[in-house]
């Protein structure tokens, strides 16, 4: 007698216990503290905050711990938490020009006002495994400049002053909010940038890369990349002024791209823009490349590369959506599969019957 | 006198919403709402309960002049946070009387692509069991359903019959009288007489 499989509830509970055990690992190793992750896996924390659209290093670190270091899972955990938070206030636009700078470089100029500041970067490190880290060697403290860098205005303003680059102005429109409203394609640039900002870094990296390989080429120069802290302000009606409620770390990338222009309009450089929480330079650069690629239509360019197809690019950028839908293939589909089986068997039976009716020597009519 | 709100915002609004959902799913069926009673001379509990259940910061409400009182505006702002709009076309909800509809403000019917972006009418009626009978059919109605309304409802019903020509664009309507309500969504076919 067949008895249907039962006990799903117990199976799930046991799987969760096993997962918790694997997460903890061998008990002779000290348990990871959330604070250690926050301090020592900083770049992972920044990526999780960016793609989860929630600036909270401690909770991002907790998510990484809970996800056993699976970044996409950690993004999902933090995003699911974020969605339950009430909206208390809306900040003023951030002024990245007033950033307290930790790193600032330009590939477009040999030197820039204030100098090229490398800051904490993996660039120029030799990618040799450092076995000292195995031996728990203490890192020496960094050397600090005698005085902090003054706020630097965005470098691209220099080009703008000459009219060499397209000017970007605030059109005053209330931007859409992708965390509350579903995308209504085609979407405007503000919406696109929001979607790219929470898009998966690997996905945007591959798309940005594809534009460099000829699929929607847009001739980029890294005009300015800056990393540092920016104040967040909210406008308080009662006081009639904006007050600072804290600081967040940001990575910003301004790409300079090849000219637009026409018989009527003088040629100008165009822009691609990337912004991410924390130190997420690769993400900001990839985002800027894709942002520029998605402006193809607006700039009168032929859409020929995948990175230029807005609906395709944007609809598949979110790792929480993508990993959810891919992983749902693990759910049972046996009812639909049964429906397919039934049809396939019927089609094959009919096929066999036809063959049989025609007999072994019968020739298909069209071959006579 | 302050306007009352829901005792238990979470569970009361859920209960009232389920009645609204049922009303919209079965056009012409009357429901009695157990909702807070505004002061005398103001809108009835069914309409107030509907506003409390559906409106918030993200909705804009249009008010017919005869029901546009300072007390209602204040209560709406305090208990729902929704904004009152003077522009009929941008209203998510419009508090109207049958007469309003005779005068024909241009409420939004939505677009062919987004027919859901339309105004929902919340109608104040004197009578939800009148002698003039309207025969309703369409989705939510097994065969047909007869709804009796007062003669005053005529301009409204004329507008709702015309509404059918625009489908899928159109207005959805919640008729209220005191604590009772019934709905006529745009999908309902309306004929005069039983």
């Amino acid at each position: 007698m067949y008895v249907a499989v039962k006990g799903g509830e117990r199976a799930i509970a046991n799987a969760h216990r096993l997962l918790a055990d694997r997460r903890r690992g061998a008990r002779d190793q000290a348990e990871l503290e959330v604070g250690q992750i926050e301090e020592q896996l900083r770049l992972a924390v920044d990526r999780v905050m960016s793609e989860a659209s929630l600036y909270d290093p401690e909770l991002a670190a907790l998510a990484i711990k809970q996800a056993s270091g699976d970044i996409i899972e950690a993004v999902f955990l933090l995003r699911a938490y974020r969605t339950t938070l009430p909206r208390l206030a809306v900040s003023e636009p951030l002024d990245t020009g007033a950033m307290r700078i930790e790193r600032r470089i330009s590939a477009a100029y040999k030197d820039i006002p204030g100098g090229q500041i490398l800051g904490p970067t993996y660039d120029y490190t030799h990618r040799l495994l450092d076995f000292m880290l195995l031996a728990e060697g203490e890192a020496p403290p960094p050397e600090r400049a005698e005085r902090a860098l003054e706020a630097c205005p965005p470098l691209l303003e220099l080009l703008d002053a000459e009219g060499l680059i397209e000017r970007e102005t605030d059109n005053g429109c209330e931007p859409a909010d992708i965390t509350r409203d579903p995308p209504d394609y085609p979407v405007d640039r503000a919406t696109r940038l929001q979607m790219l900002a929470r898009g998966d870094e690997g996905y945007l990296l591959a798309l940005g890369y594809s534009t460099q390989r000829g699929y929607g080429r847009n001739h980029p120069f890294a005009g300015e990349i800056r990393l540092g802290h920016v104040e967040v302000e909210i406008f308080v009606e009662e006081w009639g002024e904006a007050v600072c409620v804290g600081e967040i770390a940001l990575s910003e990338c301004q790409m300079i791209n090849q000219f637009g222009g026409s018989r009527d309009a003088a040629p100008q450089f165009t822009r691609g823009y990337g912004l991410a929480f924390g130190h997420s330079e690769r993400k900001a650069m990839a985002m800027a490349l894709v942002d520029r690629a998605l402006r193809a239509e607006e700039l009168g360019e032929e859409v020929q590369g995948p990175a230029q197809q807005a609906e395709f690019v944007l609809a598949h950028a979110d790792s929480v959506e993508a990993s959810g839908f891919v992983s749902h293939l693990k759910l049972p589909h046996y009812v639909d599969f049964q429906s397919e089986l039934e049809l396939l068997r019927r089609l094959r039976r009919e096929h066999d019957r036809r063959e049989c009716d025609m007999g072994p020597d019968a020739q298909p009519e069209d071959s006579l | 006198m302050p306007w009352p709100t829901l005792n238990d915002p979470v569970h009361d609004s859920q209960r009232l919403f389920r009645q609204l959902l049922a009303a919209m799913s079965e056009p012409g069926t009357r429901y009695t709402l157990d909702a807070p009673q505004p002061p005398d001379g103001e809108i009835g509990p069914a309409l107030w309960g509907t506003l409390l259940t559906l409106c918030d910061l993200d909705t804009r409400v249009w008010l017919a002049p005869e029901w546009d009182t300072a007390a209602l505006r204040e209560a709406l702002a305090l208990h729902t946070g929704s904004r009152v709009t003077e522009c009929a076309e941008e209203a998510d909800f419009a508090l109207v009387t049958p007469d309003t509809m005779g005068k024909g403000p241009d409420f939004s019917l939505g677009s062919d692509e987004y027919p859901d972006r339309s105004t929902t009418l919340l109608v104040v009626l004197d009578d939800l069991e009148g002698a003039e009978e309207w025969r309703l059919s369409g989705p939510g109605i097994a065969d047909c359903r007869v709804l009796g309304l007062g003669a005053a409802a005529r301009p409204l019903m004329a507008r709702l019959i015309a509404n059918q020509n625009h489908f899928p664009r159109g207005l959805d309507t919640i008729l209220t009288c005191g604590a009772r309500l019934a709905a006529i969504p745009r999908s309902t076919r309306i004929e005069e007489g039983a």
Binding site: V335, E342 | F17, C55
Partner: protein, 277 residues
Amino acid sequence: MNGYNFAYLDEQTKRMIRRALLKAVAIPGYQVPFGGREMPMPYGWGTGGMQLTASILGAGDVLKVIDQGADDTTNAVSIRAFFERVAGVETTTATGTANVIQTRHRIPEAPLAPDQILVFQVPIPEPLRFIEPSEQETRLMHALEEYGVMQVKLYEDIARYGHIATTYAYPVKVDGRYVMDPSPIPKFDNPKLHQSDALMLFGAGREKRLYAIPPYTRVESLDFEDHPFEIQRWDESCALCGSRESFLDEVITDDAGGRMFVCSDTDYCLTRRGELA
């Protein structure tokens, strides 16, 4: 559950979904865009259905959750446990006692009652998506009621196989206007959509669309005069309850390819066996 609202979603989100649901009911078969939120379950695992359930569920409701027709499949167990935890509602496996039934891939065999609500989990709400991948295009096709491509697609199947080769997520036309994806239910279940006593709600979380079929609504499966719509039939009957009317799952019983057929709707099967015993 500490720190979360009743039924998980905050009240403002529920109100947004409730307003969208009223529009969905008013325009049967039309996909209403809504501000779908992340749920603590992955997209594709029922987040749309769960958001709808969370928005309609009350403390006094009795909830049933099925996947593939069964109450004991892991995803059904997990979603049921979620609502027990965040809403504290009573749950059941008995189709007849539930007010709200959330389902993935099936409609219960037992006819539903007028006061019941069936909530479907929907992966791809757009019936035209596999013919036209662009949302801008399909939106326009719905607006213009331009459904010729769907008929062409189905007819290509007939030309090739002699049958319409769509066996699940079989498109329907609702009240003579919108072509709608009934979610990946087997086409066996399509006739149950027509003139149902119960309200049916459909939620697609990742795609951020919801739609509805009110009770007593005309729902026709697309077909052709010379190839009328037909549902699956089995030569076998259920090995457990003997039913010849229900959708049967094929169960492999041994390595030699032995197999048997049993009802996919576990509650229906158990009830019949109880009546027969």
